[in-house]
């Protein structure tokens, strides 16, 4: 167990109205350019995933800034200049590198131990590592750092997998795709659709050990990650079995998900226990699409439960992480299954949006097939997000409006008012800033210094406790700086311990 200093605790007060028991967001114009995918209409599997975002305080001025990856335009960096309302200013000129296009995913983390978060970008071509030069500018150090994998990368995550005090890197790779040799058309519900991923060669993921000073070494095989190649779309690095070592959950498209458990040795060795633990597939053994990964202690047993978003005409899945080490599909119990059947889900996030002490759930959606309609595929091409409020043992759906091609989302308190706001990127189109209307009259905000993936146990004076994880959010192709612990003002905190 490691204890870290609680750096900062403030009580933010407001005389605004009491928070309601329903959650609502207001879209605000924050002057963020649209997301640019390969083409306006997706004609192949290459163009369906869109690109991700990174939300982090790159200049350490106390607010969340935004990095937007683009496939068909330069990536962009925005500085948060919010005061009365959420506002950003483009500062892309701080990124000193050439041709930063073709990007897919973003991982945020400190790669060189200088206490400034850096940016790792996955792409259809060579991935890039941009070092944050003390908040002033970003330098492309890909070649020197040895992290320029050239396969089709999707999501990536930083985390100290070998426990030596620096961030290692897990990169999800999707499939081998030759744009000049498109796969044959397929059929879905009687409609012609583009081919893939089935029929295309899946790829191996790559794992890099940080060997110091921002230099990395490929340890995929020696650390045990050389599993079957897969259509990897997302990953989460936390300690899933509470043994003090970081593990890796990998979400694979239409294939079994992996749960690599860390043996804690030096060097570490990871064993895939996805099937044996029950998290590889849903309760019926169906290998799902797994675009989004949400982590929360839904059952309240102090362990990280895993929620995944999936294809339409399937359901999203909630696996409860039991103390026995097994993961049980309890999606139905919590009311999270059938409401998702007409949706195709991507990024999701568990956050206490209404500040009532439990985690709610937000999911962004959009179909991959441009010809998807309710009539043809029981699922529209453009879809509304799904929002669930935790109510006792169940999650209650709060209907959301809109028609979007959403893919990526990042979560954070953009305006420093104590509640969690959301930025959502479409596959191609407007990036939406959603201000949380909770208007909390009073909250406790505890800023914690801990390594990525750490487990935080918050104990209250009445003997109860809640568990959170200090993660980058596991957004689909996206990444956020870990959030402070926000508690209702009247919560009587006894101890906050980092493991």
């Amino acid at each position: 167990m490691r204890r870290f200093l609680i750096l900062f605790c403030i009580t933010a007060c407001s005389t605004q109205e009491e928070p309601g028991n329903r959650i609502s967001f207001t879209e605000v114009d924050a002057e963020i350019d649209s997301a640019h995918s390969e083409k306006s209409d997706s004609e192949s599997i290459l163009e369906v995933n869109g690109s991700g975002m990174g939300l982090f305080d790159f200049d350490k001025d106390g607010d969340f800034d935004l990095f937007v990856a683009n496939a068909n335009a330069p990536c962009r960096l925005y500085e948060n200049i919010s005061q009365d309302t959420i506002k950003f200013r483009e500062v892309t000129e701080k990124i000193k590198c050439q041709q930063l296009v073709g990007a897919t995913g973003v991982a945020i983390g400190d790669a060189n131990g200088d206490d400034y978060d850096d940016i790792y970008i996955t792409s259809h071509g060579q991935n890039r590592l941009l070092l944050n030069m003390q908040g002033d500018w970003f330098e492309d150090v890909t070649k020197r750092a040895n992290v320029g994998d050239e396969r089709w990368g999707t999501s990536a995550r930083f985390g100290d997998l070998d426990g030596d005090g620096d961030n290692d890197l897990y990169v999800c790779n999707y499939l081998d795709f030759d744009q000049s040799n498109l796969p044959a058309k397929a059929s879905y519900k009687g409609e012609d659709v583009f081919g893939g991923p089935h029929g295309l060669p899946p790829q191996y993921d790559v794992v890099y050990e940080n060997i110091g000073d921002g230099i990395f070494k490929d340890v995929t095989e020696v650390w045990g990650f050389q599993n079957k190649p897969s259509f990897a779309l997302n990953a989460s690095i936390i300690d899933f079995n509470n043994d003090g070592h970081l593990d890796v959950f990998v979400g694979n498209d239409s294939m079994a998900n992996y749960l690599f458990l860390n043996d804690g040795n030096q060097p570490p060795y990871f064993v895939n226990t996805g099937v044996a633990s029950g998290v590889a597939a849903n309760g019926d053994g169906s290998m799902q699409a797994t675009m989004g990964i949400g982590i929360s202690d839904v059952s309240g047993n102090g362990r990280a439960d895993v929620f995944t978003t999936n294809f339409s005409s399937d359901t999203n899945t909630l696996h409860l992480n039991q103390v026995t080490g097994f993961f049980d599909d309890r999606t139905k119990r919590y009311g999270l299954g059938l409401p998702s059947r007409t949706y195709l889900g991507w990024t999701c996030g568990f956050h206490d949006f209404d500040l009532d002490g439990d985690d709610d759930l937000y999911i962004v959606n959009g179909h991959v097939y441009p010809n998807a309609t309710m009539s043809t595929m029981d699922s529209a091409h453009k879809q509304a997000p799904l929002l669930f409020e935790r109510e006792g043992e169940r999650f209650a759906q709060i209907k959301q409006l809109g028609e979007y091609e959403d893919r990526a989302a990042v979560f954070g308190d953009l305006d420093n008012d104590g509640d969690i706001d959301i930025i959502v990127a479409q596959r191609s189109g407007v990036i939406r800033i959603l201000r949380n209307n909770a208007d909390p009259p009073s909250v406790q905000r505890h800023i914690v210094e801990a390594p990525l993936g750490a487990r935080i146990v918050i104990k209250f004076t009445d003997g109860t406790s809640v568990t959170k994880w200090f993660t980058d959010g596991s957004g689909f192709q996206s990444s956020s700086e870990p959030l402070p612990i926000i508690l209702p003002a009247n919560a009587e905190l006894d101890a906050l311990t980092v493991y």
């Binding site: 519900k189 009687g190 089935h198 599993n227 079957k228 897969s230 239409s254 294939m255 079994a256 992996y258 895939n272 226990t273 996805g274 099937v275 044996a276 029950g278 590889a280 597939a281 309760g283 019926d284 053994g285 169906s286 290998m287 005409s313 359901t315 026995t324 097994f326 049980d328 309890r330 139905k332 119990r333 919590y334 009311g335 299954g337 059938l338 409401p339 998702s340 059947r341 007409t342 309710m374 009539s375 043809t376 595929m377 029981d378 043992e393 169940r394």
Partner: protein, 253 residues
């Protein structure tokens, strides 16, 4: 709910049972309308998977008699069998509006709503069907699934038991209801009863590959690793039998 093929078989079976009821001059014939004999060729086209041809011919009938419940129902059935549930709902709803006591439409409307994630509508349609055809086991099974989604485990248990005990229950319906009853025990962490029920269900129908997967998971929880490995093997065999299209997506461990 178990597999696409099994669901198709289940639809076929239920429809044949229902069709038998309607064509067989039952006592309650006055209460439930029969499927007109001129629709039999259209139904056969649907059975053969010739959905487009069936729809062209059904539409010709509907052009002449737009409120024919049986024709409206078959139109819905043609979409249901293609897993186009939104369209199926439209046609089944039209069928029930044309003749509110047209029982097969209510049954399949319940399933279509279910697969669109519309729990209240699914429940309502299933219950309406049971008002007209008390004890129909596939509808009781459907209501059990709805209750599972609502986390009403006592209700789910009651419905699955009723489906199993129904005089009309076929071997296949009994098997799938037992397997889903086992799911209720899993929700209660009653692993021993769940194991027993999965085994009973799979004795009756070894093609339910999802149940083999669940049995393997339950064996693991009970420390029966050898049993889990055997169940995993049966899962793969059953899945390859029933869903050959899924071959090549093996579990990696």
């Amino acid at each position: 709910m178990y597999t696409k093929t099994q669901k198709t078989r289940s639809i076929k079976l239920t429809f044949l049972i229902l069709l038998g009821l309607f064509l067989g001059c039952q006592e309650d014939q006055a209460k439930t309308p029969t499927l007109a004999k001129e629709l039999s060729p259209h139904y056969e086209l649907i059975q053969k998977g010739q959905f487009g041809a069936a729809r062209v011919r059904i539409r010709q009938l509907l052009d002449q008699n737009p409120d024919t419940s049986g024709a409206l129902f078959l139109m819905g059935l043609s979409y249901q069998k293609e897993k186009q549930y939104a369209k199926a709902v439209d046609w089944f709803t039209k069928s029930t509006k044309a003749t509110s006591a047209y029982t097969p439409a209510w049954h399949f409307l319940g399933w279509s709503h279910f697969y669109l994630g519309q729990v209240p509508q699914s429940k309502q349609a299933f219950l309406r069907f049971l008002d007209l055809e008390a004890g129909e086991p596939d509808t009781l099974f459907g209501l059990g699934l709805v209750a599972l989604e609502e986390a009403k485990f006592r209700d789910a248990e009651m419905y699955f038991n009723s489906a199993i005990e129904s005089a009309q229950a076929t071997n296949e319906i009994q098997a799938k209801a037992k397997a889903r009853l086992a799911d209720v025990y899993v929700e209660r962490d009653d692993w021993l009863d769940a194991e027993r029920l999965y085994q009973m269900a799979l004795m009756q129908n070894p093609d339910m590959y999802e149940a083999w997967y669940r049995l393997a998971q339950v064996h693991r929880r009970l420390g029966n690793i050898a049993g889990a490995i055997k169940a995993d093997e049966q899962y793969k065999l059953a899945r390859n039998r029933v869903r050959p299209d899924l071959q090549g997506t093996e579990f990696p461990e």
